[in-house]
Every structure is written in C-alpha cells, then in structure tokens.
C-alpha cells in the first residue's frame, strides 16, 4: 500500500534506458540518465553527497560505531579495572548471575508465546479482510492501543490488576479468591507479556492487512466455488500466499518483544517480584544505571544483539523451509 498516489500506474516507455527495467533492488535504476555530460560544476557533482552526508554521518556515528564500541567495551573491566582487558570475565559473571539467567529464560518464554502473538492478529486480519460486518470499526478499535505509550498502558493495567483492584473485585463477586497478578513470581511475567500482546497486536494487524491487499482475490473466489471451508481456505490459500508477510510479522514481533517491553516492565513490576520479570533490556538498564556496571551491561547488550541475530536468522530459515513444503 503505497502512501499517497505518486505512482502513475502506467509508466511511459523511456527512451535511452538500457533494458528499461529497474536494476534489481539497487539504490538507483539501470540505464543511462540523460544528465548532460560533465553534470555541471563541481558543486553539482558533490550535491548527492551533501544531501546524504548528514543522515549517513548520524547513523554511522550514533548507531554503527557505538555497536563496535559496546562489543569492545564488554571485554574490559568495571570500577577499578576500568579500561583493562579482562577477556571473557564479564560473560562468565553474566551466566553466573541468576537474574540474567532468569532474563534469558524469559526470552525463551517469549519465543514460546510468539506463535500466539502472531496468530491472533493474523486471524483477526483474515476476518476483517473477509469483510465481517463492522470490519471498519474493529480495525480502528484494535489498532488503537498500538499508539499508546507502554508507560500509559502499564499504568492503566497497574490499576486494573492491583490486588485491591477491579479485576479481583469481579472475581470476588463470583466467589473466587483474589489473585496477586503482579506480585506472584509464577504469574507476573505472563501478565506483562499478555499486556504487551494486548497493546501491540494492532500493529501486526495493520501489517497483515497490508499483506492482504496484495493477495490475489481470484484464488479465494476459486476456493469458495470449490466449496472450501474457512480453515481450508486459511491453510491452503491464505497462509501460503502471505508467507512473506507472516515472516515479517514473526521477526518484527520478536524484535518488539525483545526491545520494546522496557516501559511495561519499568512501570508494572520493576523486574520483580523476586526478579521474575527480568528481560535482557531491563537487566542492561539496571546494571548500567543503578549498579554502575557499564562493562557488564555491555556484555549483556552484546548477548542481546546475538540473540536477535540468531532469532532473526532462524525464523527466516524455518519459514523458508515451511514455504517450500507448501
């Protein structure tokens, strides 16, 4: 779904373009541009660089360079040993720290819950695409929490889930004992992840709907004529045709779980109860900001980065294989 409508649907045939087609996915098209030879003055030749330089500089200096710095930093000491090379000491310490192990365990939990976080918006998008009555209303209601800050979402659910809060009041009225939703180490992480899914499924829904916009509707019509049931249509038509979108949603949902739950954790549980709701990002922040252990935090950052790379690669591989089997 392009933004706006700058694209004429029919391109005029262009003279003097080698092959005419765009050269793959490179940043500029193939074929000779009708720039007058020499391209004018030196200032003109430098113009593209002047236009790109500010963005490129900021990205290199404030994103890519710090990545290298951080990895480098993770092999040095903290405090007394500031700047001294300590080899893998930080990493050893990380894996001996039960809080960090909990954080990694919670990442495992997120991976297990990932299919749920993808299936919910996927199914809902299917129904909306199939034009259930009120589909426009559903679409805008579902998308709404996605624009709220995690801090606001967390604060609202702190109210709802409080021990003396409304949810327990409802349960009490039907004779169920109050549950300490955010104070029970076995429950708290599930609650936070649940709230995260509640708050973000609208984003994935919109992505799915964008994928549906590219779906060939004649396939659906054919399936209907053949008398296929909805589950059959889902399995044989929709899932194979949307393989790329599903892959994209899987990866972005996972990255979202690994890098955008800080606000919720900070507001809802602060890592508690008993450290049960730690995730790597929260651990990094605690070590850097509260414990004054920047090098240890850097080691945790490096591990988080590796996890993200591995998760991304694995999912792409798995889904490619699934796509081939279909």
């Amino acid at each position: 779904m392009p933004i706006g409508n700058a694209q004429p649907s029919v391109r005029p045939v262009q003279a003097g373009r080698g092959g005419g087609a765009a050269a793959g996915s490179s940043a500029h098209r193939g074929g000779a541009r009708s720039r007058r030879a020499g391209g004018g003055s030196r200032a003109e030749r430098l113009a593209p660089y002047v236009l790109v330089a500010p963005a490129a500089l900021i990205i290199v200096v404030l994103r890519l360079y710090p990545l290298l710095l951080g990895v480098n930093f993770s092999f040095t000491g903290d405090g007394e040993q500031n700047g001294v090379a300590v080899g893998f000491d930080n990493y050893r310490e990380l894996f001996e720290d039960s809080l960090f192990r909990t954080a990694l365990g919670n990442v495992g939990l997120l991976v297990l819950l990932l299919p749920v976080a993808v299936a919910i918006p996927g199914l809902l998008a299917t129904f909306i695409y199939l034009r259930v009555p009120g589909h426009r209303f559903y679409r805008s209601v579902y998308f709404f929490p996605a624009v709220l800050s995690p801090v606001i979402v967390g604060a609202i659910f702190n109210l709802l889930l409080a021990y003396d809060g409304p949810l327990n009041a409802v349960l009490g009225s039907v004779g169920v004992a109050p549950v300490d939703w955010l104070g029970d180490p076995d429950l708290a992480m599930f609650m936070v992840v649940g709230v995260h899914i509640w708050a973000t499924f609208g984003m994935a829904l919109v992505v799915f709907l964008a994928g549906f916009a590219t779906l060939d509707s004649s396939l659906l019509d054919a399936a209907r004529v053949d008398g296929a049931s909805l589950p059959q249509v889902l399995w044989h038509v929709i899932i194979p045709s949307l393989a790329r979108t599903i892959q994209f949603v899987f990866v972005t949902t996972m990255i979202g779980m690994l890098t955008s739950m800080f606000g919720l954790l900070f507001v809802m549980t602060s890592g508690g109860p008993e450290g049960s709701t730690y995730l790597p990002e929260y651990y990094i922040w605690i070590q850097q900001g509260q414990m004054n252990r920047p090098a240890l935090a850097s080691a945790a950052s490096t591990i988080l980065f590796v996890i993200m790379l591995v998760v991304g690669m694995l999912q792409i591989k798995l889904l490619e294989r699934a796509g081939r089997d279909n």
Binding site: M1, P2, R33, E44, P48, G70, I152
Partner: protein, 275 residues
C-alpha cells in the same frame, strides 16, 4: 444459500468481546479520573456521578506535568523536523541521483535498522557524556534522530523511487540545481510520505521512555512519559488523581489517533510492504 450461516456469530461474538477488551481499560481510566477518592474506594465500577475536571488540574499542577509536557513537545517537534529534513534529503539522493557509493550508503543507513537502542545504550551514553550532550535537549534530540533515521531514510527512499526520473530531468533542463530540484520538486511531491512518516516518528518519540530515562537524568529535563512513571509513587493512595495524570499523558495521542489514524496505519503498512 439463503439460510443464515452460523459462522457469522462464531466470529462476531469473539471479535466484539475483543473490541470491548481493547477499549474498556481506557474507558475505565477515564471514569476513575472523574471520581472522588471516596467513590473509587467504595465502588470501582460505578459510573461517575459528575465530570470532575479538577482531578486533571490537581495532577497537572502537583507533579510538574506542565513542565514535562513542554519538554516533550519541544524535543519531539525538533526531532521530527530534523528527521523529515535529513530523511527526505537522503531519500531523494539515494533514489533519484546516480553517484559513486550510493548503494553502499543506502545499505549503511539500513544497517542502522538492526541496531536497537538497548544494544548501544552504554557506549551511546558514554559518547554523549564525553561530548557534554548528556542531559541536554539537543542531546536527546540527536539520540531520537539517530534512532528513527534509518527507518525514515528507508521509507523516503522507497517512496521517491516511485517518482518518474523524467520529472527530475525536466527540472534540471529548466535550469534547477540539484538543491533546487529537492526544494521545489521533491519536498512538495513527498508531502504524503512526509506526513505519514512524520506522524509515526512523532508517536515513537512521544511514547519513548527508555531513551529519555537514560539521556535525561535531571528532574527538570524529564519528558512527559518519564514523569508519568513517577505518578505512581506520588498518588498510591489517590487513584483518581493518578488516573488523571495518566489520562493527561494519553490525550495528545488520542487526539492524533482520532484524526490521523489513516496516516499512521499507512506508515506502518508502507514500512512492511516495501521491505
């Protein structure tokens, strides 16, 4: 088939319940914000008997929310203006101009997409401290710009790729410099994309809590979202005022959503389909 298909209801009921579950938490918060403390303690759910806007006033005045609000507004506005300017300049050059190294530069910009803030938090804070930018507004603006620029460059580049190169050529023959083409042709043509990506960036910056928490240690530099996190401690026994504070922070986003829902969704969709 003329008979009613049961499938309809099987879908409609869960979807309606889910819609209710999506919207109820906010309605509950609005309702609580209007109640008196006594009312809330007696009954969590009863509809408020009056619209008590004074709770909002209490929250606004007592926690310094006005100050935080102004901080957020200033930082977010500056960040978005810079993002759109730098993103559209780079997007135009990377999509419409041919020059040596453009592919490498494009890939370099994209690489930034795969580096989340958490991974570079420590070295970035250190860089900011070394350059005396930590705890300053320009510092936070720079951090936001660096965070969302890869996405902005990516979107603007893919949008500008859809503009026929003949337009640029014609403008050049008319005697425009490259900069002239950017200012007179590309900026106006880019309006729909700039609007979408601008709103999206504004939301991201407005909603951020981690970056401003790390980069703005001192209390009077706090952004609104960091301010909201401190409401809880202050009003643990005064839930209506707490809810009012939360509501104040949510109102700008609600308003933006009501009017610009379309553009937000388009921005998200464009980010996914062009990949």
């Amino acid at each position: 088939m003329s008979r009613v298909r049961p499938g309809r209801w099987v879908v409609a009921i869960p979807m309606s319940l889910l819609a209710l579950a999506t919207i109820y938490p906010l309605l509950f918060t609005v309702n609580v914000a209007m109640k008196t403390r006594r009312d809330y303690i007696l009954d969590r759910f009863s509809l408020t008997d009056a619209l008590r806007w004074e709770n909002l006033g209490t929250a606004w005045n007592s926690v310094g929310m006005g100050r935080y609000f102004a901080n957020s507004l200033f930082v977010v506005t500056s960040s978005v203006v810079l993002l759109l300017l730098l993103g559209s300049m780079a997007g135009f050059a990377l999509s419409q101009l041919r020059f040596r190294g453009s592919s490498a530069l494009f890939l370099g910009c994209l690489a930034g997409l795969f580096v989340p803030f958490q991974v570079i938090m420590v070295p970035l804070a250190r860089l900011m401290a070394d350059t005396a930018l930590i705890d300053t507004y320009p510092g936070l603006v720079l951090v936001y710009v660096a965070q969302f620029l890869p996405f902005t460059v990516f979107l603007m580049t893919s949008y500008y790729r859809g503009i026929p190169p003949e337009i640029v050529d014609a403008a050049r023959i008319d005697g425009n410099s490259v900069y002239g083409v950017y200012r007179r042709i590309m900026l106006p043509l880019g309006t729909p994309a700039l609007l979408s990506v601008g709103i999206l960036n504004a939301l991201f910056c407005w909603n951020d809590v981690l970056m401003s928490l790390v980069m703005m240690p001192s209390a009077d530099h706090r952004t609104l979202m960091v301010g909201v996190t401190s409401l809880r401690g202050q009003y643990s026994d005064d839930i209506p005022t707490f809810a009012s504070g939360v509501l104040i922070a949510a109102i700008p986003v609600l308003v933006v959503y009501l009017f610009l829902q379309r553009q937000i969704a388009d921005g998200v969709a464009a980010g996914s389909t062009k990949g």
